[in-house]
């Protein structure tokens, strides 16, 4: 069938303005935030309401047309790069918050709602939606669920999956599938909503999502501990947890990151430090004061060269300024920023950092490492120029080795960015052939023609 007839069929569903097919529009939806080659879609379909997602999916299935759902396109593993010649279904217009229930602490949203806008609406009603991925100012909740996005608060509050109570989604026949409920407890059938989390658009097209909300903490306190040795910083992380204190945020910046952040922001960071921990505790005021004091004691005991607690809101803000500037500072150093998210058990952070430093030396690369030390989710960030073929080849080799090291430490390929196209080929290293076969069988049964975001997660080319 000719593309023009197909476009007409899609226009019959979404209206004539809802299909973008010019050369420039196709190119504008050929990439996401991952450092990967773009792929050109045949055209882009923008539904006006969630009901239109069913007929769109059905039509794709009838024609065996690959379909990639895209919200804000901030994916870091290529999950929203379309299949060449397939279509992009743009959901950023499906952005209604359908319900925020203050009595029963849940919300129902369409998939295109922007994460930070949702969190702000929830906060206005005195409630709290904790997942806060770095891209939250633009990322959409549908994408957060599809990738099981994390964030700075993962340690205490968990990640996106911990807030998904239920979901409606469309299967390839365009039928609406319902799973989960507005109740805290629900065991009605398979946990299909759970299956959709981290499925990266390969198993269904999300319609409405039900999220759990929680009451916000009454108080918080932030502090910064400086170390002349990264092992001491890692030991401190382990000791804090071992003492049964669960900070809401526990972030690490390594020497390379500190140097770049300071060079670009002049925030007054100790450039001679080998590591900084930024720690925040929250909860009941008395508990916060108690935990903060215990943390200061632990830091001092293990040998922090200084520990500073923020006494005012301004001081707290100043502490987080450094963390927020970690990525921007690194990003400004070189043209290309390859941000990885290899994750290890907390106790293995020193070994992981040593491994990263060895890899940087071996491949003559600059790697700045920062990240969510509290949950072992590190962001080794390789600074390079992907136009330099030789250098970028070394980057690819280094990334290979980063995953080898992470897996050897009983870690995982991805803490929060997803597998997408970027890490598909390593899936077998972390799992095994049987796992891949099981997943492929499931995929085949649900999506026999393989139209739902092909090439991602389990379909390494």
């Amino acid at each position: 069938m000719g593309a023009e007839k197909l476009i007409k069929d899609f226009e019959a569903i979404v209206g004539s303005g809802g299909v973008l097919s010019s050369e420039s529009d196709r190119h504008a939806y050929s990439y996401d935030s991952a450092v990967l080659d773009p792929a050109l879609p045949a055209f882009v379909v923008k539904p006006n309401n969630t009901e239109q997602l069913g007929p769109i999916t059905k039509l794709c299935n009838q024609h065996g047309l690959p379909l990639t759902v895209r919200g804000a396109g901030t994916n870091l593993s290529g999950g929203t790069i379309p299949h060449p010649g397939g279509i992009v279904v743009l959901t950023n217009g499906l952005n209604k918050i359908i319900e925020i229930n203050e009595e029963d602490l849940y919300a129902v949203v369409e998939p295109g709602v922007v994460t930070a806008q949702f969190a702000a609406e929830v906060a206005k009603r005195g409630l709290f939606y904790p997942p806060d991925p770095g891209s939250q100012a633009v990322s959409t909740l549908g994408g957060n669920v599809a990738e099981n996005a994390g964030g700075l608060r993962g340690l205490k509050y968990g990640v996106t999956k911990d807030y998904v109570m239920g979901m409606d989604f469309f299967d390839v026949n365009g039928d609406l599938i319902k799973s989960g409920s507005r109740t805290v407890k629900c065991v009605t059938g398979y946990n299909l909503a759970g299956l959709m989390v981290a499925s990266e658009g390969t198993l269904g097209v999300f319609s409405n999502i039900i999220f759990k909300l929680v009451p916000p903490p009454k108080a918080q306190k932030a502090m910064m501990a400086v170390f002349d040795n990264i092992d001491k910083a890692s030991e401190t992380v382990a000791a804090i947890i071992a003492n049964h204190i669960v900070p809401c945020t526990l972030e690490l910046l390594d020497h390379v990151t500190i140097k770049y952040v300071e060079a670009f922001t002049k925030a007054g960071l100790p450039t001679e430090a080998q590591a900084i921990l930024l720690i925040e505790v929250d909860g009941h005021p008395a508990e916060v004061a108690d935990d903060a004091q215990k943390i200061v004691d632990i830091c001092n005991k293990i040998g922090a060269t200084s520990v500073k607690a923020a006494e005012t809101a301004e001081e707290r803000e100043a502490l987080w300024f450094a963390r927020r500037n970690a990525l921007p500072a690194l990003a400004r150093a070189r043209p290309t920023t390859v941000l990885e998210d290899a994750t290890v058990p907390r106790s293995q952070i020193p070994a992981m950092i040593r491994g990263l430093n060895k890899i940087a030396d071996k491949y003559k690369l600059s790697i700045g490492t920062f990240g969510h030390a509290g949950d072992g989710n590190l962001h080794p960030t390789i600074l390079c120029d992907n136009r330099d073929k030789q250098e970028f080849h070394r980057v690819e080799e280094a990334v290979n080795e980063i995953f080898d090291v992470a897996l050897s430490l009983k870690g995982t390929l991805s803490g929060e960015h997803g597998i997408g196209m970027a890490k598909s080929k390593w899936m077998i290293k972390e799992t095994n052939q049987a796992t891949l076969d099981y997943s492929l069988r499931m995929k085949k049964a649900i999506d026999p023609k393989g139209i739902l975001n092909p090439g991602k997660i389990i379909e390494a080319s």
Partner: protein, 432 residues
């Protein structure tokens, strides 16, 4: 085809700057155009991707890219918010110049820029004549905002509520000035800018009153031309340089410490853009442009930071409610936000109230308003809503172009709210 190849080669000169964009997409959070259309080609990341692909000859249709490139207000919100520090405005302006060189300037723009704007005497004459003619045909749309509407001009201006051309431009009252330093010991060159001269002469008068009150000597030479930004935004670098040269010539004999303007756009253009656009010029000229850039300052910043006007910590409660709109060229390009607000607090007939999203673009964007009026209007309506929501009786700003847009938007949505320059409110607090 070979032409497209040549275009691609030229765009490759921007590759080093464009490669810094890591496609994180954070520009989506702040782009006013994207907020309206939610289309990737309307946000910075998309535009840079398209330019890169054109430069690498992966896209054939340069016209499409050009059309998308022009759907941008050049407000600089994305650059101010870019984690990677990409020099987005430089890329977009240079790309517009390169594409315009390739496509050629439209006949209308050629006439306006090369035939009119670069000939200030003719430009003045034409606007004077137009001012006389518009009188009988235009009717008052909203007295508070000072706007007019005119059915006869609809083919040209659409349904706009425009600021009429003044019958007596600023330069008629002040053809030139060269007053000595007073008690401040300071002397400034004054650059009123086209819009103040031709639409808001009272803003120019307020500036003179304020400068004289503080004992600041004024150098106002004849022969000033447009700062050039309308030509550059349309990719006409030649006219831009002609205008720059006319201005440098006009100011070169003055003995002054600062050059001040009441126009955010003129300030940013003279201070930041002129020097970036000079190629193959002689070093003496470059030095002149650079010296003038160093001296250039927004007039509210000059009054607070240099003259040192003391400001009360809070504005008086209970006066007429005034709010402030941050012009992009002042807030995002130059980081001037506190000084205009400080001046507003000096007038105790007014109570200053901060509106929501005060630093969000008003949607004017110079010629963007002409070519994409519907988009410009929907962005502006959000601004008008914010002005009304704070209960303002007066909205002020520091950019005459924003004043035009605010006037149109407020007037069309019911009127009743005055649009003034910050200087007018401050001048009003000074006893003659």
């Amino acid at each position: 085809m070979s032409d497209v190849k040549k275009l691609a080669e030229k765009l490759m000169a921007l590759d080093d700057q464009m490669v810094a964009c890591m496609k994180c997409g954070m520009c989506q959070a702040v782009c006013p155009v994207f907020a309206e259309t939610m289309q990737e080609a309307d946000v910075t990341r998309g535009k840079i991707a398209l330019l890169e692909k054109l430069a690498h000859e992966m896209i054939k249709d340069a016209d499409q890219v050009n059309e998308k490139l022009n759907r941008c207000l050049l407000c600089g919100s994305c650059e101010a918010n870019c984690p990677s520090g990409v020099k987005i405005m430089d890329i977009f302006i240079k790309a517009r110049v390169i594409v315009t060189e390739y496509k050629g300037l439209s006949a209308t723009k050629k006439l306006i820029f090369k035939g009119l704007l670069t000939r200030p005497k003719l430009f003045n004459l034409l606007t004077d004549v137009s001012a006389k003619f518009q009188g009988p045909f235009a009717s008052v749309a909203d007295k508070s905002a000072g706007t007019a509407s005119c059915a006869m001009l609809n083919p040209l201006l659409g349904e706009r509520h425009f600021m009429p051309l003044t019958k007596k431009p600023f330069r008629k009252d002040y053809p030139s000035l060269d007053s000595p330093r007073g008690i401040s010991g300071l002397k400034v060159a004054f650059f009123p800018g086209c819009v103040v001269d031709k639409m808001f002469p009272h803003v120019g008068h307020a500036a003179i009153k304020v400068l004289e009150h503080h004992g600041v000597g004024i150098f106002l030479p004849k022969g000033q031309a447009c700062c050039g930004i309308p030509t550059l935004a349309s990719g006409d670098q030649d006219s831009f340089i002609v205008l720059m040269k006319q201005n440098i010539k006009a100011f070169e004999d003055g003995n002054f410490d600062y050059l001040v303007t009441p126009c955010a756009t003129c300030t940013a253009t003279i201070k930041e853009t002129w020097i970036k656009m000079i190629e193959d010029e002689d070093p003496i000229f470059i030095e002149k442009v650079s010296d003038l850039a160093d001296k250039t300052m927004d007039i509210t910043q000059f009054l607070i930071d240099v003259v040192g006007i003391s400001v009360p910590a809070k504005s008086k409660e209970g006066g007429k409610v005034v709010t402030y709109h941050d012009p992009c060229h002042l807030a995002k390009s130059l980081g001037v936000t506190a000084q205009p607000r400080a001046l507003l607090k000096k007038n105790d007939k007014y109570e200053f109230k901060e509106m929501n999203e005060a630093n969000r673009c008003c949607g004017c964007g110079g010629s963007f308003n002409l070519y994409h009026y519907d988009l410009s209007k929907s962005i502006g309506e959000r601004k008008a809503d914010n002005v009304r929501a704070v209960g303002a009786e007066v909205v002020t700003t520091s950019c005459p172009a924003c004043m035009m847009q605010l006037g149109d938007m407020l007037s069309q949505s019911g009127g009743g709210i005055e649009v003034q320059h910050v200087l007018e409110i401050y001048a009003d607090s000074i006893e003659k």
